[in-house]
Symmetry: C2
Subunit: 327 residues, 2 copies
């Protein structure tokens, strides 16, 4: 199934409003999901509308996001139990506002759940000239290094840098695999790779169902686990629970920095562009290949897909979205 | 060879002042190196005095560190070509001062070289109640993922959280191995493990000399490489070169945050302690083992060594340090 960007956005908005979201929040969420589709991240795109509708069924109506604490370089937002696709947008825009005035912003948000591609929010700041860092802790599915109990989320970490060309965008999860990939392996009846998960007894497993019942392991051994713990603690700073047992109360953390604090106007984006040029012009490991910067592949796909004007969607997902939207 | 803490400090101070450091800077550096020894990090401790003396021989006298730009939530320091052991201390103390007044500080420093254990500086802030993040880019020895040319340093990243108990301190390098470990393997005539380095032609190598002539690979594949690139770009923000070819002009980056911006006084350190308690009381992967928090092992060794009142030092290093110090 191929849809225009407007059709895809409308489909998502109708589904999300029927599931209980306000028109404004449905539009913010749909824009995020359609952008994910354009960037080639199918799992993070329109199929998420179905998961969101499912999650919304168990929830009381959300309250508006509001600022509960603020000083000239920081803010704390109460997400009102809105989905993080919405709260993160409010939070990054608040952080950009503060950084525009004062050069630096640290913004936290709580009472929110689900998180989209963190790249979306840090890119938004980088395209306005700011360095942005963003983390969120999520539903507990990952054991710390050396442990076997699920205490941390997949806890992504993202940072973006403004550039005279496209921003450089780094967006990494800190778990060895994702919940979605394990569910997909179960659906396909395929075993997991070695070293990704343990079963409820704490033994290594390649069985997706055992992994879902047990715990996913952290990415990158003790170092990756350290990063995951840091993201968890930044979530706790934002007001999250120590460990999130359900789909609620994630802790979002943002730092936004104006590079003009440290060098004359326009110099940093030029330096970033020069660094990208230098890195990508160096020798690649594979003969005839190129060294790529993080985030470049997604941005290239988005350009290509916008030029084509269409996004692809699985037929079955399309049918379920039409049904949800009452089409 | 076993030395008391005072003897070890005196030995380092004498060597560093004879190598050209001011008495004050020698003392700051010696305190860092002795702390590394107490924490069990032998390579990062007193043997570094010899490497520092070697590096200082090629350098003009350093100027004092000074603040060249400042606003109410940020500062940029010119390190005056002083060693980063000294400049990082000035920078973290400046950041703590700013954060104490305004809640958030972003501090950068340039014109400096070598960096010690980043844990030392973030712990200093965490013990005063602050969350602290610190990165530095270093001499180019590491290829980005997919590349074979040395463009980045071993680019460490550290973050620490204040706690009612000991702080939680995460301090990770972003290279698959360290320069020091490769040199050690060459000295011992041992091959490297697979996947750590490439030779100058860009082919995988386990030969330490080929690795030293070629490039070390990033830790953790594309994700670790992404982090290494982020640290490089934060160094560039601080005023470092795009790629550091010699031992000079590292870019230090610090963020310090007062958790009281986001929750009532004393609540965050209590939450961190509760999280540590929760994590370490969960099941371990090895029967009878425990789940450890990052940084705990170093802090435990320090307590033990302070109780014993002595640090160990290789006899040959001791002899060379005495010679350097003119004893």
């Amino acid at each position: 199934m191929q849809l225009t960007i407007a059709e895809a956005t409308g489909l998502a908005v109708r589904g999300l409003t029927r599931a209980g979201m306000s028109a404004e929040n449905a539009r913010i969420t749909a824009d995020h999901l359609v952008d994910a589709a354009l960037c080639g991240h199918e799992f993070s795109s329109l199929p998420r509308v179905l998961a969101l509708a499912e999650a919304l069924r168990g929830k009381a109506p959300a309250r508006p996001t509001c600022v509960v604490r603020e000083n000239h370089c920081s803010a704390l937002l109460d997400g009102g139990d809105n989905v993080a696709y919405v709260v993160s947008l409010h939070a990054i825009d608040k952080a950009i506002d503060i950084a525009r005035k004062n050069g630096v912003a640290v913004v936290c948000a709580n009472n929110t759940w689900f998180s989209g591609r963190l790249a979306y929010y840090v890119e938004r700041a980088a395209r306005q000239g700011f360095i942005a860092m963003h983390t969120t802790n999520t539903t507990a599915r990952v054991a710390p290094f050396g442990g076997v109990d699920r205490l941390m989320g997949t806890n992504p970490f993202a940072i973006a840098f403004p550039s005279d060309e496209d921003p450089i965008i780094i967006d990494i999860g800190t778990s060895a695999t994702t919940w979605g990939d394990v569910v997909l392996a179960r659906t396909k009846g395929e075993p997991l790779a070695e070293g990704l998960a343990v079963n409820p007894a704490g033994h290594p497993t390649r069985d997706p169902q055992e992994a879902l019942d047990g715990a996913i392991l952290p990415w990158g051994g003790p170092r990756g686990s350290g990063l995951a713990l840091a993201v968890q603690l930044l979530g706790i700073l934002a007001g999250s629970e120590l460990v999130i047992d359900d789909i609620s109360n994630y802790g979002l953390f943002f730092v936004v920095i104006d590079p003009k604090l440290f060098m004359p106007s326009d110099q940093f984006p030029a330096r970033v562009a020069a660094f990208r040029q230098f890195v990508t012009s160096n020798r690649a490991q594979t003969h005839g290949g190129t060294v790529r910067m993080p985030g470049d592949s997604s941005q290239q796909k988005r350009r290509d897909n916008i030029a084509k004007g269409v996004i692809s969607l699985d037929d079955a997902v399309y049918a379920r979205l039409r049904e949800l939207g009452g089409d």
